[in-house]
Symmetry: C2
Subunit: 256 residues, 2 copies
């Protein structure tokens, strides 16, 4: 690695979102930054990739920072694939995704475009972190996040991450002096209780908005939800080997 | 459970795909079937959900079978949420997704719409299985899959699955008498080597098609790729707690 690491930045709220602009400004102090981010919001895209239509990817200037920026028509995972294969001429030292407007703690990691970009980078062998702030608003205050994003980023550059693991970082929506520190956690058991909002169009057709309420189903004090509810930044190591290894033995006892 | 289980069927290739029609016909012999499937192909959608636009869901008749069918404008995960919350008045005893046209073995589980539907059902507390045949063609021969789909389905109904685990079943593209049996496996380490096919539109703009080649990076003989290459149906227990539990101790040694 040269003195200044090459850092790929992406997100799922789109390249103009305040969260990614803050992330870029933090990363500019740490390394040489290339941004490849979606031109449209991609929240809830999970690990979607674009296989049924074409992708576009073009240089763009959003502000006066030193970073190079590209905007891509695809999903967050597409952006990482595009960056690694078409835009960068060497593998980046780090990929950071976010800062997401809204939580990706607990089960939300599954639906998260932010985390899918980090996972995609991990698949490509790039150390990766997804950052999220627990405030859905466009004008969320990202200032208190700065020192934690910087600290965790520097730690990953220093300590490395093993192959197959990326970090899911969530930051509570608190003032800087209210945040108690950083906690390494496991993903809490939780679930969305969906509530489809059924409406009728002017043409008389039924349609639905997907809404819901997230519930914590986990009493543990070692979870990301516990950490966030108690004023800590949560860090969960996330893997993309989805095998339930502990259940293989039991499955082998079935008469298959 | 009544004598005949209530079975929810979905897929990601769309409600008219031959794979899901075969799956419906098999499930009609086992239970009472309700189909809620996308009206358009959703391959590569991962665990995407629809949050930025509205959903439509309407009854449809595709063939003369006894099943009830609904087609939904969303992703496979949306279909399961819609089925559970708006269409069914009781929790189904089982959810089956597929039969996918193409492999969802190894890392493909991450990108798979088929598996995201099974995972979504698992999240809702419904035993769930995703089935895939290793043949991408629309006119793939699903006949040899029948007995294995039936056997694994009956096993899940009999043995139950614990909360948090669903099955990822892949079937080799072989004649019936060439398939050696069923193997319980772990997810093989593997990866796509992307190759973006760059073209120029009639308007002079660059665009890309995402293409690539899948490579097996795993020498193990206990993996799904090994099983499939050696003539077996692979069954991988899949979990949606993505925490890399074994790495929490190490992360705690970082100066965070």
């Amino acid at each position: 690695m040269s003195k200044r690491p090459l850092i790929l930045v992406t997100n799922d709220d789109g390249i103009t979102a305040p969260g990614v602009r803050m992330l870029i400004s933090i990363m500019n102090e740490i390394g040489d930054v290339v941004v490849v981010a979606p031109n449209n919001p991609q929240s809830g895209m999970g690990h979607a990739i674009t296989v049924n239509t074409v992708l576009r990817c073009n240089p763009i200037t959003v502000d006066e920072g030193p970073q190079l920026e590209y905007t891509c028509s695809g999903t967050p995972a597409d952006c990482v694939k595009m960056a690694v294969n078409e835009i960068l001429n060497k593998k980046p030292d780090l990929c950071v995704s976010g800062i997401n407007h809204g939580s990706n703690a607990s089960l939300n990691v599954i639906y998260s475009g932010t985390m899918s970009a980090a996972v995609e980078a991990g698949i490509e062998g790039i150390p990766a972190i997804g950052f999220s702030l627990l405030d859905y608003n466009w004008d969320a205050d990202f200032e208190p996040s700065k020192e934690f994003v910087r600290k965790i980023t520097l730690s990953v550059l220093e300590n490395k991450l093993p192959e197959g693991i990326v970090l899911n970082v969530n930051i509570p929506d608190l003032k800087k002096d209210e945040i108690k520190g950083i906690k390494v956690c496991r993903q809490a058991q939780g679930n969305w209780i969906e509530d489809f909002d059924k409406r009728v169009s002017p043409q008389g057709e039924d349609y639905y908005w997907l809404t819901g309420k997230f519930v914590n189903l986990d009493n543990g004090e070692d979870t990301d939800l516990w950490a966030l509810e108690n004023g800590y930044v949560s860090v969960v190591p996330v893997q993309f080997d989805l095998t339930a290894h502990h259940y293989i033995h039991k499955l082998n006892s079935w008469d298959l």
